[in-house]
């Protein structure tokens, strides 16, 4: 007998809950629909029964939807989540996706396109995912590829940019093939580096795909940066966006060549934005706040004990080794693997010296 999936609908509006129960139970897969009118009740139900899908409102008293989603993401990573809210502010959409929700729909949209909404739900109910983390915020293509390579994953990245579609094959952390509008292999990959925006999805790995790219990702990044520099003519009026993009690729190649995991640049508070490469921005922001505070505290202490100016900090745990270098108008935070501590200070100084040049 086919298992009926369970859906939990969370909303403080009991009339909406009654309507949802009626509508959702008519889905083709005939799921069992349960409802909860508070975050606490929903979490208790999730603890006691196995649900496949949570449909959650955002604006609720006591525990709002975002808090529930943050808890759910941690405690029930397998649970598919959909936000169905009346809040039209784009900020909530971004925050919900940052929490790893599968779908975000406005209630008004759902009423206009109910058929499409139900098809999305059916798709979510039926899709079997591998275990893993969800909720990647907007990231550059290089960040996404580097993340896949660093975690030694095997996947196919399907990229879409308007009418253009491309694929990148990654097998056990190595780039093996790329394909886009008439090009394959390294030339396709270089073309894709020029894409500044788009969407991506992870498809199942294809280990049997013939390998056309044999160079390591670091070497490809270096070459691409060099090619970009050679192609740029001195008279061409490169747009600011193009220049920023080239600079990012160049910095990534610096990072790859040095062997560091990431660099976070922390300006003096109020004098610019935090810059992060090789690390998720959310984590970088937390590191940056800590680094700023640490440098301030150390400077105050230095005044008291007359130890002299700060040269650098290090912080280590089992997962990484951090080097913090305070400079005149910014602080650099460089992450290394715990095995790379030998000579890390010298390597960090060299990396930082080239960083803003």
């Amino acid at each position: 007998m086919e298992t009926r999936h369970k859906i939990l609908v969370l909303d403080d509006d009991t009339d909406w809950l009654d309507l949802s129960r009626e509508l959702l139970s008519q889905l083709p897969s005939k799921p069992e629909v349960r409802t909860a009118s508070s975050g606490n009740r929903a979490l208790a139900m999730l603890d006691n029964e196995p649900f496949r899908l949570l449909i959650c409102d955002l604006k609720m008293p006591r525990i709002d939807g975002l808090q529930v989603l943050a808890i759910v993401r941690r405690r029930f990573p397998e649970l598919r989540t959909v936000v169905l809210s009346a809040l039209e502010d784009e900020e909530f959409r971004s925050r919900a996706y940052a929490l790893g929700v599968d779908l975000f729909w406005l209630k008004t949209e759902m009423q206009r396109n109910s058929q499409m909404f139900f098809e999305c739900l059916e798709s979510l109910l039926g899709r079997d995912k591998e275990a893993g983390f969800r909720g990647i915020q907007s990231k550059g293509l290089m960040d996404i590829i580097q993340m896949e390579c660093l975690t030694r994953s095997s996947t196919v990245l399907r990229l879409t940019r308007g009418s253009l579609v491309a694929k990148i094959w990654i097998q056990e952390g190595e780039l093996t093939d790329a394909e886009t509008d008439g090009a394959i292999g390294e030339s396709a990959f270089r073309r894709l580096l020029g894409w500044k925006s788009g969407t991506f999805e992870n498809l199942p790995a294809e280990p049997s795909r013939e390998r056309t790219i044999f160079k390591p990702i670091n070497a490809l990044l270096l070459e691409s940066a060099q090619v970009m520099d050679e192609n740029a003519s001195p008279n061409s009026a490169a747009s600011a966006e193009e220049l920023a993009h080239r600079k990012t690729v160049w910095k990534l190649s610096l990072l790859a060549r040095a062997g560091a995991e990431f660099v976070v640049t922390v300006p003096i508070e109020g004098q610019g934005a935090i810059e992060a490469l090789g690390i998720q921005f959310q984590a970088a922001e937390q590191f940056a706040v800590w680094a700023r505070k640490a440098v301030e505290s150390a400077r105050r202490l230095s005044d008291q004990i007359e130890g002299g100016p700060i040269s650098y900090f290090t912080a280590k745990n089992l997962e990484r080794y951090l080097l913090i270098l305070p400079r005149e108008n910014k602080t650099f935070l460089v992450g290394w693997s715990p095995e790379a501590t030998e000579g890390a200070y010298e390597k960090t100084k060299k990396l930082i010296a080239s960083w803003d040049s």
Partner: protein, 101 residues
Amino acid sequence: MGFLKKMFRSKAAVSQLPSGSLTVNRDGKLITATVSSTYPIELQRAIGNMALELLRDAHTAQMPVAEITINFASLRLTARELRGGAIVFMFPQTTSSSMSS
């Protein structure tokens, strides 16, 4: 005899840098210290509390660390978390000291 005062002008005392270790509990209270007894207690407390603050803030920033080292021009401090408090090792740096951690 006043000429001796002109020849041997008094100079400000050179600040001693701490050397040794100290431990603070989770409330920032100084528990033990191997630092010279002439080194001011307030400064020892200040060092211990700063170390405690750095370790706790690292936890708050979702990056728990086992050890933090601060390299000043003439002093190196290494702090480790110790049962909620902290132990801090202090090494004055001389021209022959290595700057690598």
